[in-house]
Amino acid sequence: MIETVAILVSMVLAATPLLFAALGELVTEKSGVLNLGVEGMMLAGAVTGFAVAASGYGPWAAVLAAALAGAALSSIFALLTLLLLANQVATGLALTMFGIGLSALVGKPFLGMPLEALPALPIPLLSDIPLLGPLLFRYDGMVYLAVALTIALHLFFRHTRAGLVIRAVGENHDAAHALGFPVRRIRFSCVLFGGAMAGLGGAYLSLAYTPMWAQNMTAGRGWIALALVVFATWKPLRVLAGALLFGGFTMAQLHAQGLGIAVPPEFLAMLPYLATVLVLVLISRDATRIRLNAPACIGKLFHPDD
C-alpha cells in the first residue's frame, strides 16, 4: 500500500511540468493562436529558474524569474505572428530552436551544479491523514499551484466574461473585432500567459523534479504538452487527467527498470513518446469531436484592415 502511494505520488510529480505547460498552451490556443514553441519556452524557464536559484536568490524568486523568461520568449512569438503576421507553425518552430540554443548557451556555467530541491509544504492536519495525507497533501508549492490553476482556468472559461471573450476571439476573430474587442491585444496577453506557464513547467523540472540543469532537459515534454491539449479537447480539467496519465507512462518506464524487467532501457524510454502518438490517434480519430472543440480560428492570421 505504501509502495502504491509512492508510485502515485511520483506520477503526480512527473505530471506537474506537463500540466503547467499544457494549461498555458490551452489558453494560447483558446484565443486562436497555435504556439509550437513550448519546448523552447520550457527550456528558457528551466535554465532561468535554475540560474536564479543557484545564485542564491531563493526558490520563489527563481520560479518568478522562470515565468518571466518564458513570457519574454513568447513575446517574440507574439510580435512576429500577431503584428508582423508571420506563419505561426514556422515561428513556433523557430522559437523552439532558439530556446534550445539560448538555454544551452546561458546554462553552460551551471552544468553539473547541485541544488537543493524545492521544499515540501505539507498542509497542516490534512497531511496527517493516513494514506490520503501522503498522497494528496505533502507536495511542494508548485504542485498545489498547478492544480489550483487548473481549477481556476476551468472556472475562468466557464463562468467569467473575460473567459468568454477569449473564446470568442478564438472562435471568430472577425466577429470579435466587429464587436469591438481588441483581438490582437487579447491574443498577445494569452500568448504571454502561455509562455509564462511553459516557463513554470520548465522551472519545475530544474528546481524540483530533478534539481539540476542539463542541456535539453525537457526531452520533448513541450511537444507532449501540445499533444495533451488536443487530448484534453481544450478543457482544463481533462488536461489534468491527461497529465497524470502521461506522468504514469513516465513512471512505468522508471519502475519497470527498477523491477528488472528485461526490456532494454531505450525501449522503455520510448514509452512516453509512443503513448503520445497512440493517445493522439485515439482522440483525433473522431474528427467531428475535434472540429467541435477546437477553437475555429486556430492558426489563422488576423489583420484588422483586411
Binding site: 515561428t91 530552436m97 507532449i224 488536443v230 509512443l274 503520445t276
Partner: protein, 352 residues
C-alpha cells in the same frame, strides 16, 4: 506609429530581398550577442563566416554539410507548399542511416560486391520512407496531426539508434564504444576529390534540387501541390486528391531524408554512430524557409546554413565559443526571415 498596409500585389523586390535583409539582421544581432557574451565581435564573426571558407578543404566541407540539408529541405519544402508539416525529417534521416547500415553490416557478401553501395542507397531511401509513412497513415486514417506524430517518432528513432549501437550492432572490438563496425571500403562512398570528404551525395543533392524545381514548376503534380497549399477548398472543388498529395509529400521527404542519413554514414562517418546528424533534419526546416520554399533558393540557403555549422566548429576550436551558438544563430535567422516576409505582402506606413 507604424502600421501595415496591404499591397495590391506581392512585391517581387521584397520577395528577393527579404532573405538578404534577414541574413543582415541576423549578423547584426550576432554582433550584439557576441559582445554581450564578452567575445570580440569582429573576430568572432570572422571566425564564424570567413575563416571556414579560405581553403579548398573548407569549401569542400561546406558542400559536405550542405548536402544533407539540401536533400532534406527539398522534400520538406514540397510538403510545406501543400501544408503538410513534416517536422520529423531528423527521425527519417536516422532511420535511413540505420537501414542503409543494416545492408552494409549484414547483407554485404564477404568479398564485397558492386551492388552493395546502390543497395545501401535504396535501403536508406526505403528506411526514411517507411518512417515517414507512419505519420501519413495516422493523418489520413486517424486525422492525427503530422506535426506532433512526426516529431514524437524522431525521439523514438533516436532511441532505437542508440539501442542498436549500444546493443546488437555494437562493434565487438570497439572497446565498448557505442558504435558499429567500420564499413568495408566497398560500402563507403569514394570521395570525388582526393583529400576531401566530398562524395557523390553532393551531386545527387544537386540533381534532387533540379528535380524538385521541375516537379513544382513543370508538372501537374506540382501544380496540385501549390493549389492545395494556397486554398484547400479550391483544390477540393477541382477534384484534386489531397490524400495522394499527403502520401506523396511525406514519402518523398522521408525518402530524401533517409538518403541524407545514408549519405552521412556511408560518407563522412563510415560507420553507424549515435551522432549521425547534428540536427540536419531540423535545420532543414530553416533551409526550406530561407530558400522561400523554392528549390533554387533552397540550394543557396543550404550553403548558408552549412556555413553556420562550419563556423560553429571553427569558433569552438579557435575561440572556445559553445556549439549552442549555432542553434541560436539558426533560430534568430528564422525569426528575422519570418519577420521580413511581411514586407512582401504589406507596406510599412507611418502614421495612423
Amino acid at each position: 506609429m507604424l502600421r501595415l498596409e496591404a499591397r495590391p500585389h506581392p512585391s517581387t523586390a521584397a520577395l528577393l530581398l527579404s532573405p538578404v535583409l534577414a541574413i543582415g539582421l541576423t549578423l547584426l544581432a550576432g554582433l550584439i550577442l557576441f559582445a554581450l557574451l564578452g567575445f570580440d565581435p569582429v573576430k568572432t564573426l570572422t571566425a564564424y563566416f570567413i575563416k571556414p571558407l579560405d581553403s579548398l578543404y573548407g569549401l569542400s566541407e561546406l558542400t559536405v554539410k550542405a548536402t544533407p540539408l539540401l536533400l532534406c529541405a527539398i522534400g520538406l519544402a514540397l510538403g510545406f507548399r501543400a501544408n503538410i508539416w513534416n517536422i520529423g525529417a531528423e527521425g527519417q534521416l536516422i532511420m535511413g542511416a540505420v537501414a542503409g547500415s543494416g545492408v552494409a553490416l549484414f547483407l554485404r557478401p564477404e568479398h564485397g560486391a558492386a551492388w552493395v553501395l546502390p543497395a545501401m542507397f535504396l535501403a536508406g531511401a526505403l528506411g526514411g520512407m517507411a518512417w515517414a509513412s507512419i505519420p501519413a497513415v495516422l493523418k489520413l486514417r486517424f486525422n492525427a496531426s503530422e506535426i506532433l506524430t512526426s516529431l514524437m517518432l524522431t525521439y523514438v528513432a533516436d532511441l532505437f539508434l542508440r539501442w542498436l549501437v549500444n546493443g546488437p550492432w555494437r562493434d565487438p572490438e570497439g572497446y565498448n564504444f557505442p558504435q558499429s563496425r567500420m564499413f568495408e571500403p566497398d560500402a563507403i562512398i569514394p570521395p570525388l576529390l582526393d583529400g576531401t570528404r566530398l562524395g557523390f551525395g553532393a551531386v545527387l543533392a544537386l540533381a534532387v534540387a533540379l528535380g524538385g524545381w521541375f516537379l513544382l514548376s513543370r508538372t501537374f503534380l506540382g501544380f496540385q501541390i501549390k493549389v492545395i497549399g494556397l486554398t484547400a477548398a479550391a483544390a477540393g472543388y477541382a477534384g484534386f486528391n489531397s490524400a495522394r498529395i499527403t502520401w506523396m509529400s511525406l514519402l518523398l521527404s522521408g525518402g530524401l531524408a533517409g538518403i541524407a542519413g545514408l549519405n552521412e554514414v556511408a560518407g563522412p562517418i563510415g560507420q553507424l554512430t549515435p551522432f549521425v546528424s547534428p540536427g540536419y533534419g531540423f535545420t532543414a526546416i530553416i533551409v526550406a524557409f530561407l530558400g522561400r520554399l523554392h528549390p533554387f533558393g533552397i540550394l543557396l540557403a543550404s550553403l548558408m546554413l552549412a556555413l553556420t555549422y562550419l563556423g560553429g566548429e571553427t569558433a569552438q576550436i579557435s575561440l572556445g565559443l559553445p556549439v549552442a551558438v549555432t542553434s541560436v544563430f539558426q533560430g534568430m535567422l528564422l525569426f528575422f526571415l519570418l519577420a521580413c516576409e511581411v514586407l512582401i505582402r504589406y507596406r510599412l506606413r507611418a502614421g495612423r
